[in-house]
Symmetry: C2
Subunit: 625 residues, 2 copies
Amino acid sequence: MATQAGAMTDIDLKLAGELGQQLRVDSVRSSTSAGSGHPTSSMSAADLLAVLVGRHLRYDWDEPANPANDHLIFSKGHASPLLYSVYKAVGVVSDEELMTGYRRFGSRLEGHPTPVLPWVDVATGSLGQGLPDAVGVALAGKYLDESPFHVWVLCGDSEMAEGSIWEAFDKASHYKLSNLIVMVDVNRLGQRGPTDLSWDLETYSKRVAAFGARVFIVDGHDVAEIDRAMAHARDTTSEQPTVILARTIKGRGFSEVEDREGWHGKTFPPAMAERAIIELGGERGLIVRGPKPDHAAAARAAQPTAAVTLPVFALGDKVATRKAYGEALTALGARRDVVAMDGEVSNSTFADEFAQKYPERFFEMYIAEQQLVAAAVGFSVRGYRPFASTFAAFFTRAYDFIRMAAISQANIRLVGSHAGVEIGADGPSQMALEDLAMMRAVQGSTVLYPCDATSTAALVQEMADRDGISYMRTTRGAYPVLYPTGEAFPIGGAKVLRASDDDQVTLIGAGVTLHACLDAADQLRDDGISARVIDAYSVKPIDTDTLAAAAAATGGRLVIAEDHHPEGGLGSAVVDALTGAGRVDLTVRHLAVSELPGSGTSEELLDAAGISAPHIAAAARSLTS
Amino acid sequence: MATQAGAMTDIDLKLAGELGQQLRVDSVRSSTSAGSGHPTSSMSAADLLAVLVGRHLRYDWDEPANPANDHLIFSKGHASPLLYSVYKAVGVVSDEELMTGYRRFGSRLEGHPTPVLPWVDVATGSLGQGLPDAVGVALAGKYLDESPFHVWVLCGDSEMAEGSIWEAFDKASHYKLSNLIVMVDVNRLGQRGPTDLSWDLETYSKRVAAFGARVFIVDGHDVAEIDRAMAHARDTTSEQPTVILARTIKGRGFSEVEDREGWHGKTFPPAMAERAIIELGGERGLIVRGPKPDHAAAARAAQPTAAVTLPVFALGDKVATRKAYGEALTALGARRDVVAMDGEVSNSTFADEFAQKYPERFFEMYIAEQQLVAAAVGFSVRGYRPFASTFAAFFTRAYDFIRMAAISQANIRLVGSHAGVEIGADGPSQMALEDLAMMRAVQGSTVLYPCDATSTAALVQEMADRDGISYMRTTRGAYPVLYPTGEAFPIGGAKVLRASDDDQVTLIGAGVTLHACLDAADQLRDDGISARVIDAYSVKPIDTDTLAAAAAATGGRLVIAEDHHPEGGLGSAVVDALTGAGRVDLTVRHLAVSELPGSGTSEELLDAAGISAPHIAAAARSLTS
């Protein structure tokens, strides 16, 4: 397809048509060979991809890491046969790999795309996520890389029912993401029948237009019409994202399944696949590459960055860890690869300090936590080191995005403030009491919960260079600075704050309960009980050696106190670590927030939950008496 | 305000204006007295509430349980001072309680509304949830109760950025919820500055209209205009939900803060509050009640229901637990209080069997998991027993809603299919590997993970009568029926499937790994090792007694295998229970899914994750050698 500038010639039209059929044939072949997959959902979008890949996607297939490449994100990840057939058509995946690898154990051609493939930016397959991720990539391209690449997204029509899609459109128009082009494959049929809106393209059009996008409605099987829309879409002078609403037919090209219910996610048995391939004109071996990017833009993220000087806090001063987060993040802003975003609570999380100093690298995501996390994933795709903050409780809104970010191998940092009953009067809706469990269960995650400003600042710096999904929990109230400037807080470590040769019990806390543990130790000392105190600031990975040594030294007597529900948090982390390390002889008192809390002061609520110093001391006494 | 039928008289206008000022004054007084709260966000919506409560809300304040009452849901829960001031104005909360209770420890007037108050349906405060919950209440009203009540929702403008709001509008129009009336308090200012759309009411209007609502734009401080819009809104012949977009001023009525940034969530110091009260015309003691509902409609949910006959499965037959769920749910359909909903995957979760038999009690929520859970909460408000199903992985999308449902004291049942690596070829995006951790951490939750069809059916029936948040994890593949018809599976129990007097090790599994544990026990027997096998079908609450007895009988040697990430799931449940019960002497091998899985067959993936029978047997051998 000679040129992507002018209108398509007859030869271009024919070639695009042929390529579309090839993509269909290969989608059928690969899914039938695997006995699993979504051929019909691939066939509906094949013509869109044929025109895109042949004429509009500026991509150097020999150099997927080229920062000037366009991005192609399959938000409808179940159309993986189509994506992998595209990879075959551009010559980067062999027919053999497609036919023997798709959905097989150990293969990179997984059931839904993941970044084990070099051309895949983010894992998709949980619907409604590819587009929000793409918004993040487009934000990076427009505002940080200042690179002319486009981000092309293929959405399914079913996923338009996900609220996250509308969070994405809202932010895309707010940030004038003219580099974002969304193709919606409106094939009318979802998994179990017609979609909510079926082929009502007018309603789709009104919705996306109302959310600020430029809209083109096309016949998704008319390659000339698709081509014209894509050419218009590439014009970035409009300052709007573009949506191409394509009316398509599920199973297009194979009359036995076209527009029929009951064929979602079903492969064709071999004989049926043979009939499909014949009807589609047989196998083809086209290798088609479209335009390359105009120039190799250097990714801004790779630029050298300045040294970081962390904020300093005086011992004993009362400083909220959320405040220390804001100051440390701002200090890290000296690195040009650090970007920050927040869910409209930056004056509470203290991300606003970064925003004031580095407005060009701060992105307000408003109250849209799914998009908040997805934006971080998008920045990670472009090599930045994003920090996303909101109230810890509200990251629960984005759990599916966090889970998927791990599968995307994204490197993102989440910082949640206002954790636990400690927040006081606002009541349970604002209290994160499940966040440690939620974040620990994420594959490969890091979970940090510092108790003071010094350790917070040090750990924020550790997070900046940490791969995978890192989470820090910060506290609303101000508590004394415990650690001197310059003390190291390696991830996976712990601090022993009280220790003697005759310790009888170990008190383990993190965040606000660490202070309660220290107070309890003082109370116990007055009773003649010597208690070891451990600051488990690194909840995952946890410092098993320090915990095991303390358990051994104190007769296996442990009191663990946490401002979290009893399940899956610090207590589980400690007990999982110790029982995972070999034979254990333990007597544990685990103090956590079991009942539904209400409003009150921090002190009242911590005490009512049974996690204040007197409760910790009483638990320790019960173990030592 | 004499009548709600005709236009407002001069007296009505004056009274509504006075009532609005009283609500403002009391919002200021209560928040200043507490030193915490959101007066300015209350003041913007005071006139809306004055007109609503005085003339349109049909509510018998003496009988909040009257099923014919309208519902009033504050989706902007931070405007609790306004809501509680309304309760004072209708005479159900005293001025003393308002002034001494608000946000205080032990008081029912919490920082954000919760159903500890009899007039509150659902807890709010996590934005974007009240409206989706209201959609559930309206669905129940229109389709099940067939009652003429209206559901009135007060939304903030900031929360319009949440995707869940658009899931709600989409479903509200799809289901023609003319009984749903949404007031949006467009006061322009969010927590840290202007909202995304500021006072752009035209864009809001286009968006909600495109999502199928009837829209009225009003001056939110013109009581006559508000009244006309509300009178129109109550006309249910349109078959559309109604949205009243009210242009308002944050802090309205007090010139020092009106439309000013920096006053979100801040109370006025006492001297400033005094000036505000003076400017607002001083304290008032109006008691105003609006219309009562026309008749006392009996809630359908309360009707007597037929006996349930659970499906029967033959021992040894291979039946997927998700299939057993569908059959058991359909059997439970004999009870008229059981309703079901699904996220467009009912042919995978097998909720479609219920949908076919009881289409009038099945609600398709399409791919919108937040609205799926919120609908269940809404049905719970009306006394029904909702079962909501989707892939287990996709409940992560709704975690904030599940967390809030617990605070709402909702009684809902969630059933997630396709758990773990067992699902095979679809790959990690579709594999729930965090769900047990996520659900265990919910306050007061129940978490069930049956291994066979018989136990599944029995537990589905147990769930129907279980209060709080219940979750069942089902499996994709078919496995042998292990239990005879009629066996009891109490929640909190466990089954000992292999036991002898000389057991050397305990194997603990649930769901798919229970079958692997049985196979491992057979392999171990061949090696002369006698293993106890426990089916921990009730993951929370877990059967501590049975576990402790097994641990004691087998020298503390435990192998726990689960198709879940290592954190927070079955392994944590077992270890938490045993260490919580007193001194323990344990040697544990915990087998779980540590690495990121890919595609493959069930067998390949279970084995690669190290949770198949050979791995379990090897772990047991390592403990007993």
